[in-house]
Subunit: 204 residues, 2 copies
Amino acid sequence: MEKLTLHEDPRSGNCYKIRLTAALLGLPLERVQYDIMKGETRTPDFLAKVNANGRIPVLQIGEQFLPESNAACWYLAEGSSLIPSDRFNRADMLRWMFFEQYNHEPNIATLRFWLLFVGEARLTQFQRDQIMAKRAGGEQALQLMDDHLAAHDWLAGGALSIADVALYAYTHVCEAGGFRLRDYPAICAWLGRIEAQPGYAAMD
Amino acid sequence: MEKLTLHEDPRSGNCYKIRLTAALLGLPLERVQYDIMKGETRTPDFLAKVNANGRIPVLQIGEQFLPESNAACWYLAEGSSLIPSDRFNRADMLRWMFFEQYNHEPNIATLRFWLLFVGEARLTQFQRDQIMAKRAGGEQALQLMDDHLAAHDWLAGGALSIADVALYAYTHVCEAGGFRLRDYPAICAWLGRIEAQPGYAAMD
């Protein structure tokens, strides 16, 4: 495989997904760090060269740039046991990854970012007005996962996959966003199964 | 392939993505319709059998149920020319599909739903307060697509793929959400290329 470079902010769970996938696969990954709080991913140079969308993570593969965390996990994991070999299970894994970006990340990651990095006192009124809806949406996403994991060890295909990695990233730190993990016992057991995997790497 | 049934509300662009993918591939698809405005996807029966997340579309494959529109498009298109054969291009296609669910759909599809189906007069204050941010987010997503399509005929891999289908669905009806397609000439030309494809099927 060509040289892999992760353009990241190490505080971001989306960036961590890619590091964890690479760690589980034993792939070396160089890291280039940006401070999103200082606008370092919105500079003309970053927009022209790394990602016109002004966001991290971006996985650089040789001279090609791949934005979107879950697409980068897919790239790294193709051909490995982290993607199910059965057609339905492979699509079902993607189902959980799209759920992550639509129902989980915008609620749970955003509340963590607001409360942990921006700070409640510095939130705008527009942000404050969204907290209740994001709290409810995040709890609904966690409950859906908990119900599923009460009957399945893994999210898709009966084995660890990048769907588990994608949803692990912000779930295991959701308490920083004001969610209570002890309300979701099946999630807690699943977090433990992931952390026991050979090659597991913790978030910085 | 096993019998394919689409659980849908025909007004939903997310459901239309799956119909358009099947049409381009010549796959027959039975349709079961629900009225989301009447809560027909939140009944105990729907939650227990079709999708615990209470949402359409769901693609039923024999006796298996697959939620999430983009995962369903992936399932249908596997092994066809609608998914690039090159590893980077395949991940780059998924990049655009995750962008669609994170940056495009929550802004453009939501404003279309609010303005066309709920009606501006019946929006809650909480919804009204979000219109400006969703307008800006949607315009940013369309501009990013327009800039890319000014230099590329298709979103990923140099050919029509399910990334084009996924982003076509709500882009071609974005004016119902108050966006102006004439501001995005490269998008307009790309819409025409998709509509000229053999097998193309229009939204109901």
